[in-house]
């Protein structure tokens, strides 16, 4: 099976063509300030927007395909397209073969030269303070995940664009087989996780608790395994209804008792599985089938209940929020939550924008997730008893809430007055959370 590799991501909208990346590359690779010898170049800039000439480390590199002396090849371990000086015949065909300007002649050296990702620590990225270059290492995560067993049946029937399936497959690949999975009624069993008519969708023990009693059933089960001296991890994959609304009492009890389990709330802001009714987690202004839009109603009139904050106030042993647009962040938290769940109560609140119920194109889910974070509509943080609250991806200069709202059909009826309310809620929520954050370095 194939592997994934590191790459450098370029965000043109953040680039002002300052040139620091080019200088850093020239110094690192030639020991000079001669930017013409750098292995990346900024083209354009200003109103036209910048473009970056840089090797993409292609999976099927055309530079290598056209090379007559086999001097270019993709390294199977690092993924870097490498160049061999000893065999190169200096024909320069590769510079024509590459569509990205990723390989060019170094006039001083007399050879072609190209990016080698600086052995995993690219100097250009380190030099960019505009946020235009990012060293994307998510590939390491996927390679690790790839080696682990998928514990769900192939072909779960989630809606197009739903991130829940991605989330639960990642989660259970990480956690492994010595587990019991509770999936209370909702989208996750709806996609076939617990199965139908005697068949299961899961390779580990799985069950339907009631919508109301997930945490209590897991607490009892864990109690018996503790008596028997067996290490079995309790995992809940619950929706917001089974967490925020009717599931709350048993969840609160388990959190207060510090019952060992990993409770994951997959929050799509409502009862999306049963026709998009509102839940306590539905955000202000949202159209749902029970907070409709008409002459006398403009969607949900109240704000959402914040479960992660409530779990923090229960002094949960580990509490965190997560977004599937930032899977490395999620995996770091999952690792901690899993470790915590061996002896105490761990809670992960993961946001699941719903293309079907929220009315946005299925292809945009990850972008919606990202925008939630960029606007501070969602804040990514973790709480531990020792460390207090820590923002794991603090947002400098949040985007206005309109940039998020405009992506989502369920907000289509909102006017500026509504937007002002949501913006105020978002800013207030972040300010509230900041009061619980440990001071930097403190």
């Amino acid at each position: 099976m194939g592997r994934s590799f590191d790459t450098i991501r370029f965000r043109a909208e953040a680039c002002d063509a300052c040139g620091q990346c080019v200088i850093a590359c020239a110094r690192a690779k030639t020991g000079t300030d001669d930017t013409s010898r750098a292995r990346l170049q900024i083209l354009g800039g200003g109103t036209e927007g910048a473009e970056l000439a840089l090797c993409r480390q292609c999976t099927d590199p055309q530079c290598a395909a056209v090379c007559p002396s086999a001097s270019l090849a993709k390294d199977p371990d690092s993924g870097v397209v490498t160049w061999e000086a000893e065999t190169c015949v200096d024909c320069l065909l590769c510079t024509v073969g590459c569509a990205y300007g990723g390989i060019a002649s170094d006039p001083v050296a007399g050879h072609v030269a190209k990016c080698d990702l600086c052995d995993g620590a690219p100097e250009c990225v380190a030099a960019c303070d505009r946020g235009a270059l990012e060293h994307v290492t998510a590939s390491r995560l996927y390679n690790t995940q790839h080696e682990r067993e998928d514990l769900f049946a192939p072909g779960l029937s989630a809606c197009h664009g739903c991130n829940s399936e991605l989330l639960i497959r990642h989660t259970m690949r990480h956690i492994g087989r010595e587990t019991v999975v509770a999936a209370p009624p909702g989208c996750i069993p709806g996609m076939g996780v617990v199965g139908y008519n005697g068949q299961t969708g899961c390779k580990v023990p799985v069950f339907h608790p009631l919508l109301t009693n997930t945490a209590a059933m897991l607490a009892g089960l864990k109690t018996q395994y503790a008596r028997a001296g067996r290490d079995v991890t309790m995992v809940a994959l619950a929706g917001d209804g089974g967490t925020v609304d009717v599931g709350f009492q048993s969840l609160s009890g388990a959190a207060a008792r510090n019952d060992p389990m990993l409770f994951i709330c997959v929050d799509n802001e409502g009862y999306m599985n049963t026709g998009m009714q509102a839940s306590g987690s539905t955000s202000y202004g949202s159209w749902t089938s029970t907070t409709p839009v008409g002459e006398h109603m403009q969607g949900k009139s109240g704000d959402a209940k914040s479960l992660p904050m409530l779990m923090m106030m229960h002094n949960g042993a580990y509490v965190a929020t997560a977004s599937t647009a930032f899977l490395e962040d999620y995996h770091e938290k999952l690792e901690k939550a899993y470790a915590t769940a061996q002896h105490g109560f761990a809670y992960l609140h993961v946001y699941a924008p719903c293309p079907t119920g929220w009315r946005f194109p299925a292809a945009l889910t990850t972008e919606v997730c990202r925008r939630q974070v960029e606007t501070n509509f969602v804040t990514l943080w973790e709480y531990t008893r020792d460390g207090g609250l820590r923002f794991t991806r603090p947002v400098e200069g949040r985007r206005p809430i309109g940039d998020y709202v405009e992506m989502i059909g369920k907000y289509r009826h909102l006017d500026q007055t509504h937007l002002d309310v949501i913006q105020h809620q978002v800013d207030e929520r972040v300010a509230f959370l900041r009061r619980f954050a440990a001071p930097a370095g403190g």
């Binding site: 087989r177 010595e178 587990t179 019991v180 069993p189 617990v194 199965g195 139908y196 008519n197 005697g198 068949q199 299961t200 969708g201 899961c202 390779k203 580990v204 023990p205 799985v206 069950f207 339907h208 608790p209 009631l210 109301t212 009693n213 945490a215 209590a216 059933m217 897991l218 607490a219 009892g220 089960l221 864990k222 109690t223 018996q224 395994y225 503790a226 008596r227 028997a228 079995v232 009492q249 048993s250 609160s252 009890g253 207060a256 008792r257």
Partner: protein, 407 residues
């Protein structure tokens, strides 16, 4: 290990709640979950103290409400635990959602119902409205008459529940106030004998949440197409079969209990002075003592009256009831609960249905008494016997008769 034999005196004087707790200690559950509610509270206090003292080595879960009590125990049972809890009235109402699910999961749990009248009107006293309201959910229901019967039935309940032909949860019902707080002599069985009688824990051979034998517990079942309808019917029929088997198993367990411990309790029904009776009263639970006294007095005065106590309500002992009442010409049924849509008591309806199944229609009268802690005295019962006599003579009083209406 439990140390009942060394800790406990053989004979003590105590109330029904403590007697139930001794039954639990002898049955040695692995996990006990508790939440207090009147008039059950002292029962779970006793069990908690037993665990604190080491008399019982169960794990005690103090959870935040009855709904979670039952849910936690379901989880524990799916992991292989023998479990126990107790509740009453509003607590039973609050746990109804998982309560309704327990029989379908075929989890052989034992739960005491310290019966309490239904609110509203707000009340905290005995009555059987709570237990009677849930009698069609699929739990076995056994109603005790005496403090001794509470202990002995609690112990027997574990063995009945876990019998492989049954695999159903059992409610051991004892009347709030009269049995929960009523004090009398109690013989406590020897702990080793009790352990041998109940047998090893055997609760999740059929369904489990265990990585060593992974399976889906309770996937979505039914619908209108595919294998769903037939599969759903199969589950329902197997539950009915478990109930039917329980009629036999309850009798067998009572007989074995009598052999081992020397105490004979009726298993399904108890017939009292019915052999030559031309009229009968039907009773349930702790009222039966006063009713037997009233029957004795009426007999002494020459009235040929007998009594049938119903002990097992679910499964309903249709044949035993019909058989016991086959010779009488009129019956009166005293209920401690109301069947609102029938304007009588639930046991009255069910006794008539049992007779009708054998083709018999017998003049009958429903009595309702002892609601919300009210007394059912021998005088009340004497009045009932008189009314049944009039019924037999063709003077049918209008029912139901509310025994405490003029107290």
């Amino acid at each position: 290990m439990t140390h009942v034999a060394t800790n406990a005196p053989r004979v003590i004087v105590c109330d029904g709640n403590q007697a139930a707790a001794w039954g639990v200690a002898l049955a040695k559950p692995d996990v006990v979950a508790v939440y207090p509610i009147t008039p059950q509270s002292s029962l779970v206090e006793y069990v908690s103290q037993f665990i604190a003292d080491g008399t019982l080595t169960a794990t005690l879960m103090n959870v935040e409400g009855e709904h979670s009590v039952l849910s936690a125990l379901q989880g524990a049972m799916l992991g292989g635990a023998r479990t126990y809890t107790a509740t009453s009235g509003p607590g039973l109402a609050f746990m109804f959602e998982p309560y309704m699910r327990t029989p379908g999961l075929r989890l052989p749990m034992v739960m005491s119902l310290v019966t309490r009248d239904g609110i509203t009107p707000q009340c905290v006293w005995g009555g059987q409205q709570d237990a009677m309201t849930v009698r069609d959910v699929g739990w076995i229901q056994i109603y005790c008459e005496t403090v001794q019967e509470v202990l002995d039935t609690t112990l027997m309940a574990f063995r009945i529940a876990e019998h492989r032909d049954v695999m159903l949860p059992v409610n051991v019902c004892h009347d709030g106030n009269y049995l929960s707080y009523g004090v009398s002599r109690l013989e406590i069985p020897d702990a080793r004998q009790a352990e041998a009688f109940v047998g090893p824990t055997d609760v999740n051979w059929h369904t489990a949440l265990d990585p060593a034998r992974p399976m889906a517990v309770d996937p979505l079942t039914g619908g209108a197409g595919g294998p769903g309808p037939a599969l759903f019917v199969r589950y329902r029929k197997s539950l009915c079969a478990g109930m039917e088997a329980a009629l036999r198993v309850i009798k067998e367990v009572h007989a074995d209990f009598a052999d081992r411990f020397g105490r004979h309790h009726p298993a399904l029904v108890e017939a009292y002075r019915l052999d030559d009776a031309d009229r009968a009263l039907v009773t349930i639970g702790s009222m039966t003592g006063a009713a037997k006294d009233a029957v004795d007095e009426a007999r002494a005065a020459g009235t040929r009256v007998g009594l049938l106590k119903i002990k097992t309500v679910r499964p309903f002992p249709v044949a035993a009831v019909a058989d016991a009442l086959s010779g009488v010409e009129a019956i009166g049924v005293i209920d401690r609960a109301v069947s609102f849509g029938w304007n009588t008591g639930p046991m009255h309806q069910e006794v008539l249905a049992a007779l009708a199944r054998g083709g018999r229609v017998v003049p009958s009268l429903g009595f309702i008494g002892g609601l919300a802690g009210a007394d059912i005295t021998a005088e009340h019962v004497a009045r009932a016997i008189f009314d049944v006599g009039r019924l037999r003579d063709g003077q049918a009083p209008a029912g139901p008769v509310w025994l405490n209406e003029t107290d």
